[in-house]
């Protein structure tokens, strides 16, 4: 740690040295900035990551997450290109004699669509400092064959190197050997605690409302914190501020409709996007299963509005409401959902100083209810609520030097169980006390480029955390490692006293050395800490997993990740992008569970937890073909993810449930002509680890499996492989009279699991379903379960106008 700080200090000095040199230079020749927003001319949407290229200096910058850019140059005349993939480049000749605001609107390159040739890409991947970052374009996501034809962001992410999941139906995703709860998932900066609909088959993000998807697997900038594995940053569209627009679709599962329109033309707009499953509506026609109040549906509603107050201020309001409801009659069932609200204020202090401020409320809750009448019922509600305030300042010193400063304040309220049990008319309140926590972070991040060749991004984040009252302090002692801990004391804390403080320093650094226009090498290190934890001991993560705060017993999870990468592009137009990355991650205070842990409504939950260390390492290959009729990419990851916990697996390293040695994903598109696109995707993943028994013993009437070696995850289920294909048929572009149609539509026909492989999800051992005969040996079986074991066809119709 000390070494890291020393090194950082050195780098910091180097950086300021550099800026200093720059400043002294300023005195000789005055520096002038141009700044502004780059937007889509047809919708007014901010373009994230658009390039501003100044020919004279052969360099430039890109727009930030809000479409804002700032470039500082010497007095003079410049030719500036504003570029964004899929859009026509705008070139401007500008004579700079004073600070200038230039807002640019780019027009979509429809020519490109007609010829179905993706134009050459820039060498961004080689040039940029960041590594281990994947961006998915919504247009690409829409083309990937999907389960039941439902365009899905989380499933699409799994086509990238280093990203996986334990199988169909499992909630969430795993990044570089991290667990589901170690991913920070943000939608318009609001944390999303559960990203799944229908267990884990679909994700909660409505693709029609999303404009940008970025996954940070490593080299995570200092402005992000709170989870130790990855950051998924999803940005919502602002809404069309030019004209009314609508898009939607009818799929196998969802019907979707998105409406967007200006509030005041060019100044403000809104967007409302809704999706709802309609299987229940359908089912009612055919069966009476859903009579008697039974319900089964899920929906989400995404809302966004923005308004420009003057030239320097923009206000955004985003909201998200999502819910899954499963009821088997009027009183019984369960439901879960995320609700978030973000108020964002962007302010331009001057051409070089940009601020972004967020106020966020995010909730995740679930509830269960059982019992057929009021005399006997059980109700349980659980919730995590977060209030956040995130101010951030970006200071554009010049095109080669950008500073970020910011803070993040989070206040958490945990409701582990608001529960009541009524038995024979007598009711018992089994609610657990609320828990409170406060988290604060301060950070800075500096991105400096030393000419074209060297780039450096470094930062430091200080994360403080307080577990606060009112609440209980539990103290436990270990009697036998690996078994339930003994409660030693239970102390009530009244008032807002601090029960436990934690503080962590998180240095982050990324380096780039660009060998030439086509080749670069990069390295990164980051340290991350996590104070709130997802508690899950089941095969797959599921909606009933609980989030718990760090306490005197649960220390912050910590991770150090080191990554090294080589980036190389081929072809005149950067037709091929390739990269190889290696990573190594070690983690501390990883949570495991005693055998037979009681995780639901248990005030002594902490006594059922075990803590250990983890390590994950791997090699990621990525080849992407950007141009031509046939395009797509191949991802391959060779990885390991292991844990070492006292009392599990004889205290030796064992693979995590999501350890997958090989993970190969091929995703390809063939754009035949402007009407037909063919897509195929293939996945090959090593079987996930599982534990097989060796022996059987009898306990009373039951035959119980026993593993003589006490090993965990001692074997693997068979490998997983699957091919999906789909065909997109675009509606005719022109009417019969030759006029261009205003509205566009397309059909998607797809087949999931094309060769109907019964991919195993798990193998389990049981004594069979028949009643064992008294006195006879009990037969036992091994069963292999495939969640999806057949071809699943799908069809959907989509439109926009």
């Amino acid at each position: 740690m000390r070494k890291v700080i020393k090194f950082l200090t050195f780098v910091f000095l180097l950086g300021s040295q550099f800026s200093y040199a720059d400043d002294s230079y300023t005195e000789l020749s005055e520096k002038i900035s141009i700044a502004g927003y780059i937007k889509d001319a047809s919708t007014g949407e901010a373009l994230i990551g658009a390039t501003v290229y100044i020919r004279e200096i052969q360099g430039g910058t890109t727009t930030n997450m809000y479409g804002f850019y700032s470039v500082t140059l010497e007095r003079g005349t410049y030719t500036i290109e504003f570029r964004y993939i899929g859009f026509l480049t705008v070139t401007k000749e500008i004579t700079l004699d004073k600070n200038t605001e230039i807002n640019i609107e780019l027009t979509e390159d429809t020519q490109q669509l007609e010829e179905v040739i993706v134009i050459g890409k820039t060498n961004t991947n080689v040039r940029r400092i960041d590594m281990s970052v994947n961006k998915l374009d919504i247009k690409t996501i829409e083309k990937i064959p999907a389960l039941l034809g439902e365009v899905d962001i989380i499933q699409s992410l799994q086509r990238l190197p280093g990203v996986s999941s334990v199988g169909e139906g499992a909630a969430g995703f795993n990044v570089r050997g991290g667990s589901v709860g170690q991913n920070l998932v943000l939608q318009d900066e609001a944390p999303i605690y559960n990203s799944s609909h229908l267990l884990g088959f679909f994700s909660v993000f409505n693709p029609d409302a999303v404009t940008d998807v970025k996954l940070y697997k490593g080299g995570i900038p200092a402005r992000y914190g709170g989870r130790i594995s990855s950051v998924l940053d999803i940005r919502l569209k602002d809404g069309n501020n030019k004209r009314f627009g609508a898009q939607g679709g009818i799929g196998t599962i969802f019907s979707r409709l998105t409406v967007e329109a200006p509030i005041v033309k060019n100044k403000g707009s809104f967007l409302i996007a809704g999706r709802r499953s309609y299987i229940d509506v359908f089912a009612k026609l055919f069966t009476d299963v859903l009579s008697e109040g039974a319900q089964l549906y899920f929906y989400d509603l995404t809302l966004k509005a923005n308004y420009d107050i003057g030239k320097k201020d923009k206000i955004f309001l985003s909201g998200y409401l999502g819910r899954d409801v499963f009821k088997f009659d009027a009183n019984q069932g369960f439901s879960w959902g995320n609700n978030t609200a973000t108020l964002r204020w962007n302010h331009i202090f001057n051409d070089r100083l940009f601020s972004n401020m967020n106020f966020i409320i995010s909730d995740y809750d679930y509830s269960l209810a059982f019992g057929e009448d009021d005399l006997d019922r059980f109700e349980w509600k659980s919730k995590i609520r977060t209030f956040s305030f995130k101010p951030n300042l970006t200071f554009f010193v010049n095109t080669n030097n950008i500073w970020d400063f910011g803070a993040e304040l989070n206040y958490y309220i945990f409701t582990p169980a608001n529960a009541i049990g009524v038995s024979n008319g007598e009711s018992t309140d089994i609610s657990l006390p609320l828990k409170y926590a406060f988290e604060w972070s301060l950070y800075f991040n500096n991105e400096v480029n030393f000419g074209d060749q060297f780039g450096l991004q470094y930062g430091l984040r200080g994360s403080g955390y307080s577990y606060i009252g009112p609440g209980y302090i539990y103290e436990f002692e270990t009697i036998i490692p690996g078994q339930r801990q003994n409660l030693v004391s239970e102390t009530r804390v009244e008032g807002r006293e601090v029960i436990q403080n934690y503080f962590n320093l998180e240095p982050r650094i990324s380096l780039k050395y660009q060998i030439n226009q086509k080749n670069s090498i990069k390295a990164s290190y980051n340290r991350l800490s996590q104070n709130i934890h997802l508690i899950s001991n089941t095969t797959a993560s599921n909606p009933l997993d609980v989030w718990v705060p760090g306490t005197n017993n649960i220390k912050p999870e910590l991770a150090n990740q080191y990554a090294f990468g080589y980036f190389k592009n081929f072809g005149v137009n950067n037709d091929y992008e390739t990269s190889v990355e290696v990573y190594y991650r070690n983690t501390d205070n990883q949570i495991e569970y005693i055998d037979g842990a009681d995780l639901l409504i248990n005030q002594y939950l902490e006594g059922d937890l075990l803590f250990g260390i983890g390590r994950a390492y791997g090699l990621e290959f990525y080849v992407k073909k950007n141009t031509g009729k046939l395009n797509g990419w191949i991802s391959y990851t060779l990885g390991r993810s292991e844990l070492k916990v006292n009392s599990i697996n004889n205290n030796e390293w064992y693979p995590t449930r999501f350890d997958q040695l090989h993970n190969l994903k091929i995703t390809g598109f063939y754009d035949l002509n402007e009407r037909w696109t063919f897509s195929a995707s293939f996945s090959y993943i090593s079987g996930t680890p599982t534990t097989f028994p060796t022996s059987r013993f009898q306990s009373q009437e039951y035959v119980v499996p026993y593993n003589y070696l006490s090993s965990r995850n001692n074997t693997r289920i068979p490998d997983y492989h699957r091919l999906d294909v789909s065909v997109i048929l675009n509606g005719k572009k022109y009417k019969k009279n030759g006029k261009e149609r205003k509205n566009r539509d397309y059909w998607v026909f797809g087949v999931y699991n094309a060769y109907a492989r019964e991919n195993p999800f798990s193998i389990y051992f049981s004594q069979g379903t028949d009643r064992p005969a008294a006195g006879e040996p009990v037969p036992t079986y091994g069963t292999q379960l495939a969640i999806i074991g057949t071809i699943i066809p799908a069809i959907s119709y989509n439109f926009n106008f």
Binding site: T428, N537, L600, R696, R771
Partner: protein
């Protein structure tokens, strides 16, 4: 949560997601030498009490467990009573203590018991207490009209009140027409009046899932559910007081063996060895074994449709 609840959800889910499939497989399992195991669940019922001393078999080997004979098996209590278990002449590894008369039973509520098994220079030991057990107040039946999952059905319910004071644990065993309900999902255990130590539900009537836990859910050859009870059926219920350790043990056993498959697998926890309470005091060798001394209360009833409460 009681798994039956998830069954409903699994059924619902399978309505939409009918793509899943399961097949029996015979994977090769790692080889392991046999291990001694002890099965010692003693009650105060007036019947012979049996302790079994056997060796484990490979998981898929569907045959009688080899018995260990020639052991000295005895239980002593804190009042210096000694109960000697005599080896069966028919079944190897089976040791029995038979009450000397029709009125005598094993032990006394509140006493502490020590099990000692000696064989081949090995001494195994364990301890347990005979805890209190509530009387069964009643066993009743109710009729429910059928729905899409279930036919018109008669359900039985057992009523008993957990005595005041947290920390009582029970195993509720049910017999339908004299047949013990012995499927893994029929393991019905209670911590006080509900399910867990961490959420205290004390001193009230057993909660509904426990009261209802005496119903067998069986399917006919067309996989249609059958009414748990039919007119004329008898039901006999026993409540066994068990130690907290035994409750924890049975919880784990249920996690390991109650595998309904399908979507419940998403909620399943990894296979792991259950923690047991018999130890090898001489060699500290690994060993499986559970010892519990239970007091038992019981009641019986039969289903007379003319005698149902009117709802």
């Amino acid at each position: 949560m009681k798994m039956i609840r998830f069954h409903y959800i699994a059924i619902l889910l399978s309505m939409i997601l009918i793509w899943g499939c399961e097949k029996n497989i015979n994977p090769e399992l790692p080889e392991a030498p046999p291990l001694t195991f002890v099965d010692a669940w003693i009650t105060n019922k007036n019947e012979p009490q049996v302790i079994r001393l056997n060796e484990t078999l490979p998981y898929f080997e569907n045959s009688e467990f080899p018995g260990i004979s020639g052991a000295d098996v005895r239980i002593t209590d804190n009042e210096n009573n000694e109960y000697l278990f005599i080896e069966s002449e028919i079944t190897e590894g089976e040791y029995t203590w038979t009450p000397p008369s029709d009125t005598e039973t094993f032990g006394k509520i509140g006493n502490q018991y020590t099990l000692t098994i000696s064989y081949d220079n090995t001494i195994l030991e364990s301890a347990s207490v005979m805890n209190r057990v509530p009387e069964i107040d009643s066993i009743s039946f109710r009729f429910e009209e059928g729905n899409s999952f279930f036919p018109d059905s008669y359900f039985a319910q057992v009523y008993a009140v957990d005595p005041l004071g947290p920390g009582d644990t029970y195993w509720i065993k049910a017999y339908k027409n004299g047949v013990y309900l012995n499927k893994p999902d029929e393991i019905n255990i209670a911590y006080d009046a509900a399910f867990s130590a961490g959420s205290v539900v004390d001193g009230i009537t057993f909660i509904q899932p426990i009261r209802d836990g005496i119903n067998p859910f069986e399917q006919d050859e067309n996989d249609e559910f059958l009414s748990p009870y039919a007119p004329g059926d008898s039901v006999y219920v026993e409540i066994h007081s068990i130690s907290n350790f035994a409750f924890y043990y049975l919880t784990q056993v249920r996690v390991q063996i109650d595998r309904p498959g399908g979507f419940a697998e998403l909620f399943a926890t990894p296979l792991s060895n259950v923690v047991t309470n018999v130890v090898d005091v001489t060699n500290n060798e690994p060993l499986i074994g559970f010892f519990n001394v239970a007091a038992v209360s019981s009641k019986a009833n039969w289903l007379d449709p003319g005698n149902l409460p009117v709802e």
